[in-house]
């Protein structure tokens, strides 16, 4: 699939160790900014009970779901520790202070 980079906003729009959501037709995507100013995009829906991961506490390159404390790697989307599960990840990066998200999979209408 070809890439489709979209300027989503400024890095400053997301607090360090925090997240904001991007609404898409396939549900919300959470855009995380780490303490080291890295940006990651993953589905904003915990595979356990649907908790909004964007509201979790960000530590290192991981986030803890606010509902039942499942921890996910922001890099791989894989649940950490004893829990097993995964969320989808999307390419995202920062260029000149702007956040770019690869929206190829997010804008395209899924085949019914």
């Amino acid at each position: 699939m070809t890439q489709s980079w979209l300027d989503i906003g400024a890095l400053e729009d997301i607090p360090r160790r925090g997240a904001r959501v991007v609404k898409t037709r396939h549900g919300c995507v959470a855009l995380f900014r780490t303490a080291a100013d890295q940006v990651f995009a993953i589905d904003d829906r915990c595979p356990h009970k649907g908790g909004p991961l964007s509201e979790g506490i960000v530590h290192g390159n991981a986030v803890t779901c606010p509902l039942h404390n499942w921890v996910f790697s922001l890099e791989t989307g894989l649940a950490q520790g004893a829990d097993s599960g995964a969320v989808a990840t999307y390419p995202a990066e920062v260029r000149q202070g702007r956040i770019l998200l690869d929206c190829a999979r997010l804008i395209a209408g899924r085949a019914a």
Binding site: T24, C28, A35
Partner: protein
């Protein structure tokens, strides 16, 4: 043939030397003991308890007539030696001369008398011997007598405390800026002064005595600054100087004291000297430990065996009942030295360790000196403390971890080592209780009271159980906060205070966090500890808060939120109810529910709507109810005297006042209050964190109730007569909980750890209570803000909305 030994001075040093000498060589010496005082050796250190009336002279005699007789010592008490003839090897007194083969000079020290006008007036005494002590006791017999003690050092303060105990009105005049400046640093001197003032002593620092006034006897003391203190008795305790007059006359080498070598020989090899009269290697001696060391060396030298005196470090303890003070080593500030300081203002505790390189070189402690001996040991051994530096100030009890085995450390403690400072229980008492069948912490608490008060020694007691019972006792392991650290919550709280760590990076750096920025377990705890301990220095970190506290609403299972406006004391009115109804309509709120805390919950609000609904509710005067916070939730009330025919007090009014005082404060876990207007308890006060029951004669304040996973009745904190006292007590209790509890411990859990008596003691002490209230109010100047109003701005509204909406982006 017995050799002749003459001893000048029957004090503690020569007494100990004679014991050693005669024990080693019982028949070898013909001893003549001269003493200017008309009595034998007594324990001069214990003159303070004699002065205060806690002991009698008979109790402090160390060598009585029977002892001297049994040792065959010729006692010449009350006879002062006037001259030494070194060529003839004799000493002379009023009654003739006595020959010696060896002479031991132990003339001690003389008090230093400031030669101000009036210093010879009757009623001016020093504080060196029993006669001085008796003179002071006699002076104190006059009712309403006033005493001035000149000198705020060790001796002066013991004299002052003793005179005060005898009922005199005592003023201490001290030349320096703080008391005991040779042993204490300014901070500890300040605490000491505060404590002594609480006991009724008047302390005047930076006071220089100009004259002692009086015609026939002392009447007053005049200071350089013009202050006059009336005095029936003046005690000069400004210092001592070695008593060297005899040695001088005999042309022995004398510096500040009689010069002695490592064998305690003077410049005449047949004359030895020891005690406060000597100078060794430029150093004088005033405390008893080095004097006893000298006594051993003197005995060896006389017996012809080789021994050398090496002065050791000494530690100081003030012998004033109820004042706990310890100092040892060198604690002056200097380049290359670092301090570790621990302060607990509420409990009046101050500890300071001075470190140079890898060694501990000085320690000053006030209020809690239980670890003094251990620190002193580290100083004397010049031990490398690098590995335990982080927790060093907490003493041996905290030196667990990989470097040392805590069980071995406990096993190594002597039986008299104090384990429980609150109740004064030593190790021996606890091991005896275990021997008598105690096999659990509860047993130990029931049989010995150890760990039954503040609980900080619980770990030590458990280790003792483990050491004594072996495999029969399972040691509960200390739970670290999380996997980012090996420290417990209690460790972290203490270290944040003691090392003055005021930011999250500082905590993680200084306490060796194993992760770069913590995790979801430690960060909210650290954020709370930091904002509670340093309200003015630390900035609350929203990203370290659980979602509810970050978004100021309760997240629901579907990711929507609930919104609960505050209803002060459960009271509302049509205007507020209309605003709530309008908001429910406008934002299509799916569920509206009345809560157990006497207010209304709007459930199912979308996140992006939160700042908008808050703005609408704010406009009607409604503010956040903090239904989501580890902080004050609600104050539930009944209608009290306003409407109820049984009500005894205005319970609703008190509830509203409490809620208005406490709202917005963050606490280790949520805090719920209730006020019931009579013992029928319609507001269910008896299961709240703080529950007040109004009665005819006042207010019964209970604490530590629970009605969640655990069900627990409140424990009575105190009964007070007025509403103002009930509020003060509640605020002080909440602040004590804020300062001491582990994050996520509800008050009842914390209370079980520290014990109700300790909490009562804290909040009932007027000074401590005032301090707690002051710190609470200070924190409220920062944190008592409506978070809804703060977020009813366009910027906040934008931050609560999605960053972007791609649902309308066209597919390529």
């Amino acid at each position: 043939m017995k050799r002749r030994l003459v001893v000048i001075g029957a004090g503690m040093a020569s007494g100990r030397a004679l014991e050693h000498l005669l024990a080693a060589d019982p028949g070898g010496w013909d001893v003549t003991l001269f003493n200017a005082e008309p009595r034998g050796n007594y324990n001069r250190i214990m003159l303070s308890p004699v002065l205060s009336g806690e002991k009698s002279y008979a109790e402090i005699v160390t060598h009585d007539d029977a002892w001297y007789a049994a040792q065959g010592i010729t006692c010449r008490f009350g006879e002062a030696i006037t001259a030494i003839d070194r060529a003839a090897r004799t000493v002379t007194c009023a009654n003739g001369t006595v020959a010696y083969d060896k002479l031991l000079i132990a003339t001690g020290s003389a008090p230093f008398i400031i030669p101000v006008p009036g210093h010879k007036l009757p009623g001016v005494v020093s504080y060196r011997d029993l006669d001085d002590t008796n003179a002071m006791i006699e002076a104190s017999a006059k009712p309403g007598g006033k005493a001035v003690v000149i000198g705020g050092g060790l001796l002066g303060l013991e004299a002052a405390a003793g005179l005060a105990a005898r009922g005199m009105e005592v003023t201490v005049i001290h030349l320096m800026g703080h008391l005991m400046e040779r042993q204490l640093d300014p901070a500890a001197g300040y605490l000491l002064q505060k404590d002594l003032e609480k006991r009724g002593l008047r302390i005047h620092c930076k006071g220089a005595t100009k004259a002692i006034l009086g015609t026939n006897r002392v009447e007053a003391v005049l200071l350089e600054d013009g202050t006059v203190y009336a005095a029936d008795l003046v005690c000069m305790a400004v210092g001592i100087r070695p008593e060297t007059r005899l040695a001088n006359s005999a042309a022995l080498e004398v510096g500040r004291g009689i010069t002695v070598n490592d064998q305690l020989c003077t410049s005449d090899p047949d004359i030895l000297a020891l005690g406060e009269c000597v100078e060794h290697d430029g150093q004088l001696f005033g405390l008893v430990a080095p004097l006893y060391d000298q006594a051993k060396v003197v005995a060896a030298t006389l017996a012809g065996t080789h021994a050398a005196f090496r002065p050791v470090q000494t530690a100081t303890k003030l012998k004033v009942t109820g004042v706990d003070l310890f100092s040892a080593g060198d604690f002056a500030e200097a380049e290359g030295r670092e301090d570790i300081v621990f302060r607990d203002p509420a409990r009046g505790i101050y500890k300071r360790l001075v470190i140079e390189g890898a060694r501990l070189i000085g320690a000053v402690m006030y209020g809690d000196t239980a670890d003094g001996a251990w620190f002193f040991g580290l100083i004397k051994e010049a031990a490398d403390i690098t590995a335990m530096r982080d927790t060093l100030i907490f003493g041996p009890a905290y030196q667990g971890g990989a470097q040392t085995d805590p069980l071995a450390a406990v096993a190594a403690l002597p039986p008299e080592a104090e384990i429980c400072g609150c109740n004064g229980i030593c190790k021996g008492t606890i091991t005896a209780a275990i021997g008598a069948g105690a096999s659990s912490l509860a047993d130990i608490r029931a049989t010995t009271k150890a760990s039954a008060s503040c609980g900080t020694c619980t770990g030590l007691v458990e280790q003792l159980l483990a050491v004594t019972l072996g495999d029969d006792f399972k040691l509960p392991t200390a739970q670290p906060v999380c996997r980012c650290t090996d420290l417990t919550h209690e460790d972290v709280r203490r270290l944040i205070k003691s090392q003055a760590l005021k930011s999250m990076p500082a905590v993680m750096q200084e306490l060796g966090w194993k992760t770069s920025c913590g995790c979801h377990v430690c960060r909210p705890a650290l954020n709370y500890y930091l904002l509670a301990d340093w309200p003015l220095d630390y900035t609350d970190d929203a990203q370290s808060r659980f979602v509810n506290e970050r978004n100021h609403a309760n997240i629901q299972k579907d990711g929507t939120y609930s919104v609960v406006p505050r209803m002060w004391g459960g009271m509302t009115n049509p205007r507020e109810l209309r605003a709530i109804a309008d908001a429910a309509d406008k934002y299509a709120i799916p569920a509206v529910k009345v809560t157990g805390g006497q207010r209304i919950d709007l459930l199912g609000v979308k996140k992006e709507h939160l700042p908008h609904i808050w703005a609408d509710l704010n406009a009607a005067g409604l503010v956040s109810g903090h239904a989501y916070s580890k902080g004050l939730r609600t104050v539930k009330t009944c209608v009290g005297t306003d409407f109820c025919r049984f009500g005894t007090q205005d319970s609703t009014g008190l509830g509203i006042k409490l809620e208005q005082r406490l709202w917005g404060s963050w606490t280790p876990h949520k805090v719920k209050l209730a006020v019931s207007g009579c013992p029928r308890n319609c507001a269910e006060s008896t299961c709240k964190d703080v529950g007040i029951i109004c009665v005819d004669s006042g207010f019964e304040v209970g604490v530590g109730g629970a009605a969640g996973m655990d069900l627990k009745h409140t424990e009575p904190l105190a009964k007070v007569a007025t509403e103002a006292e009930a509020i003060d007590l509640t605020v002080a209790f909440v602040q004590l909980y804020r300062e001491h509890a582990k994050y996520l411990d509800r008050p009842y859990k914390w209370l079980a750890k520290v014990g109700l008596p300790w909490v009562q003691q804290q909040v009932m002490d007027p000074a401590i209570r005032a301090g707690l209230i002051e710190r609470f109010d200070l924190s409220q100047t920062v944190y008592q803000r409506d978070p809804w109003a703060d977020r009813a701005t366009p910027a906040a509204q934008a931050a609560f909305a999605p960053l972007a909406d791609l649902t309308r982006e066209a597919a390529e």
